[in-house]
Amino acid sequence: MAQIPDNAPLPDNPRRSYRVLLILITVLVAALVAAGGVALLVNILERKQEAKNPFYRVVELTDETEDPALWGKNFPMQYDGYLRTVDQVRTRFGGSEALPRTPTDVDPRSVVAQSRLEEDPRLKIMWAGYAFSRDFREDRGHAYMLEDQTYTERQRVASQPGTCLHCHASVYVPYKRLGDGDLIKGFEKMNQMPYHEARKLVRHPVACIDCHAPDTLQLRVTRPGFIEGIRLLKASQGIKDYDVNTMATRQEMRTFVCGQCHVEYYFKGPEKRLVYPWARGLKVEEILAYYDDEKVKDWIHADTGAEVLKAQHPEFEMWNQGIHARSGVACADCHMPYKREGALKISDHHVRSPLLNIPRACQTCHKWPEAELKARVETIQERTFQMRNLAMDALVDLIGDIKTARMSGKSDAELGVARDFQRKAQFLLDFVEAENSTGFHAPQEAVRILGKSINFSRQGQIALRDMGH
């Protein structure tokens, strides 16, 4: 109630002013109640409209529509999620932190992720003589894949081929352009270009067209590396001429589109052809055996002279050994779980760690409190991390011993056995280290591999000792 100021003229008729006040209050209350009623009515109307699943095609999408923003006009909710992959959030063992940096001419980035080399200097020993010992950072969201590859210091200490863009850019349209409509021809051409030349042909990080057919929006595989890799794998299982785009189930596709890039690979021969080493199978020993057969090495270790390998993000291979894969759960089920937007059910295109989205990612199947589920995951990761540190120490010990033996004048022939143990131990360790789940994708497999790695490192040391170095 408003205060009546002292100098206000007294109302001539208190009864009349009381009546006026009563009328005003009646009007006000009625107006509020009616407004509330109408607001509820409108809300119900909106909810009913939501249920009508409106989808408007405002842009004609073709097999040449590269720009995700155009797809976003037809699919604003999915596009909105896709844009959110710029978020940088840490989890206990992964994720990234946005660190400010001063832009320079060669590297205009003002924000980067934290350096893993500073977190664990043993990595520099493991990768001595390789570009990874110079710059290796925590991975960030999909939005950054192209700029982080363009500007990493690794580009300046080593010359990279155009092959790298296969997974760091939207290459489907550029490949087809380069190959005059032939995807594989374009792929072969771009592989052989120097990186910075090929870089001019691409414009976007991974985009809609890389996983979706423009007419039906069905999932499809566009990456030659996976098309050929999965064919080799299926052939090893007795399935001839496997064509992923016609033979995979919808649920398999919800994994395969991710497996286009989240895999172990190498560049074959002078053509720098991207090959996924799956001709014998997906297990780490099968991959290593394939590399041994093909005499593949990524570099010569600077300290020991061993011919060593770099494993890179073998999530698809590791996940295939785990219980979720066995239960038919796809990557998208946890990393892009379904969510409700109005009455629409869409898969969440904000691809991220399930730990940042536990209710939708886990609780759909696992009816436990959020804190319990998080604790389960982190228990697995803690155990894996412990083993990883043991394996890392063992490898550093072996590298130190080989280095000492080498300095004391041992010949290549004498060092051969220990070097081979280093190659094995290092690849196995890196297979878990480079895999982005700290063991969660296949917990027992991860510690099994690390256990083997430790054994190889120690066996290498024993071999040197028995040689009497």
Binding site: T26, A30, R47, A51, Q363
Partner: protein, 154 residues
Amino acid sequence: MGKFLKGPTLEGIILGMAIGLITGVGGYTFLYAKGTSYLTNNPEACANCHIMREHYNGWIKSSHRIVAVCNDCHTPSGFFEKYATKASNGFWHSLAFTTGRFPEPLQIKSHNLEITENACRKCHQDIVEAMEGPYPGNIRLSCVRCHNSVGHLE
């Protein structure tokens, strides 16, 4: 008596208009929102709100669709208890759906879970008795922890 022969006062007219307006808006909203359907046993009433569509579709495919509708498992027996539960859930669920503030995936609250667990026992009393009965004390097993798809086949 004489009072009513005089014309209506201004307050009377305004009050009448106010009540009429509120009744009109409220009544229309009630009908537009299919308010009367909530007094029935029809499962479609529960799916008036699209948030329940998946549960409704799940029930259609479930083993219990022949023998039970939503109310059989989600409201207690007894007329008064049933409508009290309907009213309370109706209010809180409408509030959540209107404001959009609720966790997803949806999780049943303990009170409603209790109602459902009791509902299992409406029909399956004998078998539950055989499982729980022989033990001393007051142990109570949860049916839906294992049989979670009998009402809604995911």
